[in-house]
Assembly symmetry: C2
Homo-oligomer: 346 residues x 2
């Protein structure tokens, strides 16, 4: 059996010398290296920005969406959307564990896991698409995947349904980072608060900011806003288009009496919302970009362009304990459970 | 005279409702609004990533580079490179100040200033290109520009030559952010240490980390590395290609005996160096991306893909006092002066 590199470098086909994520194409032959894990894939959870792009390109037709997905995997050896640059994650059953890893991990063949690394670097094959939820981007397949030695994963908890655990784990970096950033008494603006990551962030922000904190939830569309108001986590719910920075600026100015946000968290899954995030934030405050639709240059030049001294953070999908924190957040909050069950519980 | 918006919204042509920076096209007619400043432009300092892209597209031919630049401005009303998304800055003489701003600013017509906001949001006309330094991306023109009310600027200091002041001010966010991030005793990795921002960052990192700090400078090419060794600011100079993350990882591991960097600052002006930055940094360390060639998704998914819990910051070109800090750094360091004089002093 061949020995593989910790970070999966042995799977990179082109360009040579890059890591699996930025690589255009990786080797998805399902022959195991000594430090890899082979998985039988059950469900792909396509990144929201990526799935929205594919869905729009294919007019919402599930068959065409499926063909589009297969084409990406055939071309790149991974489900790495070339337009959005993003991936997603998967649920699968462990089929084989390379001998180098045996005994080092709390894992045996037959265990069911969710991968916590992006599909954009995961060797994948799709034999067949067996089901698709076009609303959520959860796609059931017959296929296989490889997890590298450095790849993060979470064993699926028995008491939480798979689809719900997957949906939670997919965005578990966001609430975990929120927990690190938000201090008691902070004013927090959450953009895209009604989406999957937005709801988790909102729930954690309320918890971290405490009763003296002030939470503003921004969402687009009156129905979504009404649902957020019913949850009661936010002090203010604003029905606004986050691609309209001037509208957002004026609404946040009004709601905070000019104080603006200590921490702004962007969970909007469409492009063009960098400036609304920056303008919502006070001088020397923090903007946390969790959205994969964020443009680096739009953020960097945007802040400079309006002379705003804010700390802008790139959302890192991983921080220590992120999976446990998120699953515990779900266990603690009956409301969050109900929301995820309604949306992802079949 | 018409009244303009503080952030220049009145100049946005398409798409409507966006800010001037993300807008595809802005109005560059040189008719002054009541809160604008009109400038006679002398020199454009094109952003390094942008100029390298244009230069490569035009085979290094100054005439073709000039035509390319004029075409960008004709199409967009600003020098906003559609490929790199970045701009640059300019030097000009104040020709007129809108009545709303008169008396509020320490500025009169005839003053010479450098704009500290990006060319990617600055209304600009180019009548004629009168000179070009293809090595540095400084381009002399006959033309005009508009500075919005929110636009930052610095009056040019008498004792520092224009071209040098412009070169320093263009990257003044980087050393100012370095000063905020680097603590005494820190291990700091600077990628692209031999470039303009890299040199300023390196100088400031040495100052901030102090004698107990450890500074690693990475640069590509033996000649550049030899110059860095002569400066003596770095404890270790490594001749490495920052697009090769594995090489960088191994070299930094060796030089720090596995400790890795507390703070990594990326000043490389080519794409594909996110992963080298992430891998150079210790768990819970900070990566500061100053390079405009940074890809948001490559950074976000890259860190997740290798399970690295690092704080990743988007380089904000503006932080309070950034112009003064940078000009003072130059005044303090004879070596930095000599470097900038050799490179930008005509």
């Amino acid at each position: 059996m061949k020995q593989g590199n910790r970070y999966g470098l042995h799977r990179v086909l082109e360009p040579q010398g890059t890591m699996p994520q930025p690589a255009w194409r990786i080797d998805n032959t399902m022959e195991l290296y000594s430090n890899e894990i082979l998985l039988d894939v059950e469900t792909l959870n396509i990144d929201s920005a990526s799935f929205v792009q594919i869905k729009e390109a294919e007019g919402g037709d599930p068959l065409r969406i499926g063909e589009h997905m297969k084409k990406i995997v055939a071309e790149r050896g991974k489900h790495h959307n070339p337009v959005t640059g993003s991936g997603g994650m998967l649920i699968g059953m462990v089929r084989a564990i390379g001998p180098e890893l045996q005994g080092k991990l709390d894992l045996v063949p037959g265990d069911r896991i969710a991968t916590l690394v992006s599909l954009s670097l995961t060797p994948l094959t799709i034999e067949e698409i067996t089901g698709m939820d076009v609303k959520t981007g959860q796609v059931d397949i017959k296929g296989q995947a490889i997890l590298f030695e450095s790849g993060l994963f979470a064993k699926l908890p028995d008491e939480i349904a798979d689809r719900i655990a997957l949906a939670v784990l997919d965005v578990c970096g966001a609430p975990a980072q929120t927990e690190k950033l938000v201090k008691p008494g902070d004013t927090v603006v959450v953009l895209g608060a009604g989406g999957k990551s937005g709801l988790m962030v909102l729930c954690q922000a309320r918890k971290s900011a405490g009763p003296t904190g002030r939470i503003l939830a921004l969402e687009y569309g009156e129905a979504s806003c009404e649902r957020l108001r019913e949850l009661g986590w936010a002090d203010v719910v604003l029905n606004l288009d986050a691609t309209k920075p001037v509208d957002v600026l004026q609404a946040v100015e009004k709601a905070t009496e000019g104080r603006m946000a200590d921490v702004t968290i962007n969970c909007v899954n469409i492009p063009g919302t960098e400036m609304a995030s920056i303008l919502s934030t006070r001088d020397e405050g923090t903007v946390y970009f969790f959205s994969m639709a964020t443009s680096f240059t739009a953020a960097a030049l945007g802040a400079e362009g309006v002379g705003k001294d804010v700390n802008m953070i790139i959302g890192n999908g991983y921080t220590k304990g992120h999976a446990d924190l998120s699953l515990n957040l779900l266990r603690e909050s009956k409301q969050l459970q109900a929301l995820f069950e309604a949306k992802y519980g079949m």
